[in-house]
Symmetry: C2
Subunit: 172 residues, 2 copies
């Protein structure tokens, strides 16, 4: 089991604007570019997200739930809507243990938001830190990283036609 992120950030490090709108939604025509997400999802058996990301996504995904064949875990201490098939978990450390003991064959896509990613980073639980650097400065918003120092190895990098650059790191 490999836990991986694949998250768009502005060159100045924001994953979302101040209203929580994902940085890549500000890129003109972003929906025409997968930025490599399809390859990530292909290998993932489970998805982890924070509560705010889930709540934001719910209305968007309602008609077309993108995680039909995935286990979905949501970091939250509040109950989730029924019928979605997503499982709540109040703590990142507990969720990590759950993932480790579930015997997953595939990978885990740590979708976001920033708080969920930081929590897993601080647990040393991210095996592939995938970041898509978007060609823009947002100036303000929700930073992806905070306070964590970590040496990294660049595993691979790939430019996309719209000027986004995919960078995948492993912890050093």
């Amino acid at each position: 089991m490999v836990i991986r992120t694949h998250v768009g950030v502005s060159l100045d490090g924001f994953l979302a604007d101040a209203d929580g709108v994902a940085a890549w939604e500000s890129l003109p025509g972003y929906e025409r570019h997968s930025h490599g997400i399809a390859e990530v999802l292909e290998h993932c058996e489970a998805v982890v997200m924070g509560r705010a990301t889930f709540d934001r996504g719910l209305s968007k995904w309602a008609g077309d739930w993108p995680w039909r064949d995935k286990d979905v875990h949501v970091l939250t201490s509040r109950p989730l809507p029924e019928g979605i098939g997503a499982r709540p978990c109040p703590s990142p450390a507990e969720l990590l243990r759950r993932l480790q003991f579930t015997g997953l064959m595939g990978d885990v896509h740590l979708l976001g938001g920033a708080r969920a990613i930081r929590a897993f980073l601080d647990l040393g639980a991210i095996d592939r830190l995938g970041v898509v650097v978007l060609p823009m400065l947002l100036g303000k918003g929700i930073p992806l990283f905070a306070d964590t120092a970590q040496a990294l190895h660049l595993q691979c990098q790939r430019p996309h036609p719209n000027g986004a650059v995919e960078l995948i790191y492993t912890p050093a």
Copy 2:
């Protein structure tokens, strides 16, 4: 005349640690990697830096002044040591006018630090925003960017053997 930066930043956006030590000095063996700076300097006729960068560099560069064949401009309102051949200028806007009216044939290397780069960015005066993303999270320090929103075009990108990725943007 093209004004360009070529600055190392950690993946979390810090150009220097909290003590002002440049981010790439934290990279093991960084002095063995030019990260493309030689190509930048080859085309530059002038160098611009902030006062703190100048003062930090002075002792390091004393024995081997790297700007012998360049015009050196320092953003400062205080006098500079004599005999160095560097010219002070109190304001980024004034320095920009000076550069524009000097009739430079070559480029200008906007060396840093963060305040000098931000000031030129806010003036819309950076023609090539070159950033070398270093394979590390610093967790804290001096951020390269602050508050400026700007759409960018990716001009080129190049990975280096040590995992640093050079990204060069033009304003969109």
